[in-house]
């Protein structure tokens, strides 16, 4: 039965609803905290639903990077004979494909997240950033599985992890910042312009080839090698190779530039999201 409102509960606060401008929503931590349970539920939903009614389930998290590894090894490693820094090409590409798969899946699903949840967006209030963010959090589960498989394969191949592996959290933070910033901006544009749906899959393909996934960035001549790190995935991918295979010199220059670039993308993406968020329900 319904309980009457307890008189002892703290006086409810007053919220003023009025036309707003500027940055007031996403970047309001109080608001995000108030809706923390919903954030958890959305992430949980995205994780649970991901592989429901699939025969292979979580194995897809592994099959995707492994499949690419096999194809890339045959084509780029054997046929085209692309250099791999003296590493076996399968390891060389898999170490890059693990963060890349996380990034590309999160970007693909994240940029569609507001539109595919339009029923929610137009009926219920909540901080909209939870939609792209939830997809990314769900992506962490896949990432954890594929990372574990990567480490097993690395060990089986006879490479021992070095202390460099401790850099992984930093690299993941860079990848997450980059994908959250990009997916937030794209999902917001998608609300107005469905062109995003066609641009994103195509853009991801392009992005793959400007990131050193199938080739080592050492093949690029300076200063372009260093400059290329404004693409955050350059630092992440090269950093992943160094951190998981434990060979070669630490690419701190690339990682540093990529971290700065990712931070800039995150801020710009969230700022744009924040500016247009208030009109989502009118357009979606």
């Amino acid at each position: 039965m319904l309980r009457p409102i307890e008189p002892t509960s703290p006086p409810p606060e007053t919220i003023r609803l009025q036309p707003t401008s500027g940055f007031s929503r996403v970047l309001a931590p109080k608001e995000l905290w108030r809706y923390r349970d919903l954030a958890g539920q959305i992430a949980l939903r995205d994780i649970t639903v991901r592989y429901r009614q699939t025969a292979l389930g979580g194995a897809w998290a592994v099959l995707q990077p492994i499949g690419f590894m096999v194809v890339f090894s045959l084509i780029f490693g054997n046929v085209a004979g692309i250099a791999s820094n003296g590493l076996p090409y399968p390891l060389f590409s898999l170490a890059a494909l693990v963060p890349w798969t996380f990034f590309s899946n999160a970007l693909l699903l994240g940029s569609d997240s507001l539109v595919s949840n339009s029923a929610l967006v137009s009926k219920i209030y909540f901080p909209r950033i939870f939609m792209p963010a939830g997809v990314i959090v769900a992506g962490f589960v896949d990432l954890a599985i594929s990372l574990a498989i990567l480490l097993v394969i690395v060990l089986a191949w006879g490479y021992a992890p070095s202390p460099a592996i401790l850099a992984l959290p930093l690299l993941l933070a860079i990848a997450t910042a980059a994908v959250l910033g990009t997916a937030a901006a794209l999902s917001a544009i998608n609300v107005r312009y469905r062109d995003v749906r066609y641009v994103v899959p195509f853009g991801i393909q392009m992005w793959l080839f400007v990131s050193p996934v199938v080739y080592p960035s050492s093949q690029i001549s300076e200063p372009w090698r260093t400059l290329s790190a404004v693409n955050p995935m350059v630092g992440v991918v090269e950093g992943f190779r160094w951190a998981t295979l434990g060979t070669g010199a630490a690419p701190w220059d690339l990682i540093g530039i990529s971290a700065a670039a990712a931070a800039a993308i995150l801020l710009a993406g969230l700022a744009y999201f924040d500016r247009v968020e208030r009109a989502f329900a009118d357009f979606v």
Partner: protein, 415 residues
């Protein structure tokens, strides 16, 4: 209990037509427009940018905590827009509203159900979406399941539920919200009769527990039963703010005056409509006499005239009693062998009733015209009509009989 829960001050919401109707534009259109912009700077002053519609305009309203308020008005009067602003789904374009206390909104039952998740998982997801803490949902979990009557299906994905089951579950979650302010939009029209009665009881309980409730429904009987105060909106403004019975009376009077004006002039049309053909005129008549005055038990015909001929038009008529409760739906899409579709194109649709089974009183007719698989036009209260006492199945009908309809029947009685 006299604190103010909701204080709206000169609230306005503007939509740009076209942009909203089309749903979304393409990037190309925007780029082309952006490229053109430098060249027609002078002209822009004169040409207004698209049609603008104020769904709400200068609306001021104060609702005290514990009040149960019904919002009534035609389609497009701004009821739903007001609820959307109060529930923070959309921002006002002008003015402000101060809302004190936690707001729960029930704008559509089952919003946020995910078909792949089980009933149990959806209860938690939906509860969180409606603003409940996880611990709260946990505490009320058994109550919710019991209210929805679905212990056995908790681990079944919602996509395997019948529509009735998912609606029951959704309402059960929503009804166990405990916000200080509850916004409800037309959600009680779900489930079977027993469940509706249960839902209504629940809403009554919510209202009695001292919560503030703002309620939108077309069913005036439900509004009358639940609310103590009625706010009548018209074209985005408050037309009347009075005790519920008075507000409903005002509303019914505006409905009648709307029905007597030229139907083509009305702006409160169904907002899903495609408008390729419009209802020009609607009336009910029996063998003789005046339109819109019919005699109980006599043959009657409802005639709908539309502006344009479209191939394969269909028509749905709903007869509604004076409390806003629908009594009967006459739907041409439910085919019967007695239906006739003529060989010629035309703009007249006619529905014949062999013997009008309505008791004396005042009724209205809502109409929807469909063609090309879309709603083309829809009007509530397209006509009002009076039923005069008569004979139904050779039995005289008393003027003061209870109910809305009579059934042809016969008795077998002892001596």
């Amino acid at each position: 209990m006299s604190e103010i829960a909701i204080e709206a001050h000169e609230l306005g919401k503007r939509y740009t037509l076209g942009v909203r109707g089309r749903g979304y534009g393409t990037l190309r259109e925007s780029l082309v427009e952006a490229a053109k912009r430098p060249f027609d700077r002078g002209r822009r002053e004169r040409q207004p940018k698209g049609d603008q519609l104020w769904a709400l305009k200068d609306l001021s309203l104060t609702i005290r905590s514990g009040e149960v308020v019904g919002l009534i008005g035609h389609n497009g009067a701004g009821k739903s827009t007001l609820l959307k602003i109060l529930s923070r789904i959309t921002e006002p374009s002008a003015g402000y509203a101060d809302v004190t206390g936690r707001v729960g909104s029930l704008l559509e039952v089952g919003t946020g159900f995910h078909p792949e998740l089980t009933g149990r998982e959806n209860i938690f997801l939906n509860g969180a979406i409606l603003g409940m803490r996880r611990a709260e949902i946990q505490a009320r979990f058994d109550e919710i399941v019991e209210f929805a009557e679905m212990e056995r299906f908790l681990e079944t994905p919602v996509k395997r539920y019948s529509s009735g089951m998912s609606v029951r579950l959704a309402f059960a979650v929503a009804a166990h919200l405990e916000p200080e302010i509850l916004l409800v939009d037309e959600v009680l029209a779900v489930g079977d009769a027993a469940f509706q009665r249960k839902s209504l009881g629940k809403m009554n309980e919510v209202a009695k527990a001292g919560r503030t409730v703002v309620f939108v429904s077309h069913n005036l009987a439900i509004i009358q039963a639940l609310c103590s105060r009625g706010v009548l909106l018209e074209r985005g403004r408050v037309k009347a703010d009075a005790p519920i019975n008075e507000a409903i009376d005002r509303y019914l009077r505006t409905l009648e005056s709307a029905a007597s004006e030229d139907l083509l002039q009305r702006s409160d049309r169904d907002n899903r409509a495609y408008d390729e053909t419009l209802v020009r005129h609607l009336e009910i008549r029996d063998a003789g006499g005046t339109p819109n005055v019919v005699v109980a038990g006599r043959p009657a015909a409802i005639v709908v005239d539309v502006t344009e001929h479209l191939p394969s038009m269909e028509c749905q008529l709903t007869i509604v009693n004076s409390l806003g409760q629908p009594i009967a739906t006459l739907d041409s899409e439910m085919l019967a062998p007695v239906d006739v579709r003529g060989p010629e194109p035309g703009t007249r649709l006619e529905c014949r009733i062999e013997s009008l089974p309505l008791l004396p009183g005042r009724y209205r007719i809502d109409v929807i015209v469909k063609a090309k698989r879309h709603i083309q036009d829809g009007l509530q209260a397209a006509a009002f009509f009076d039923v005069e006492p008569g004979m139904i199945g050779e039995r005289p009908i008393a003027a003061e009989a209870d109910g809305d309809v009579s059934l042809p029947h016969s008795w077998r009685l002892p001596a």
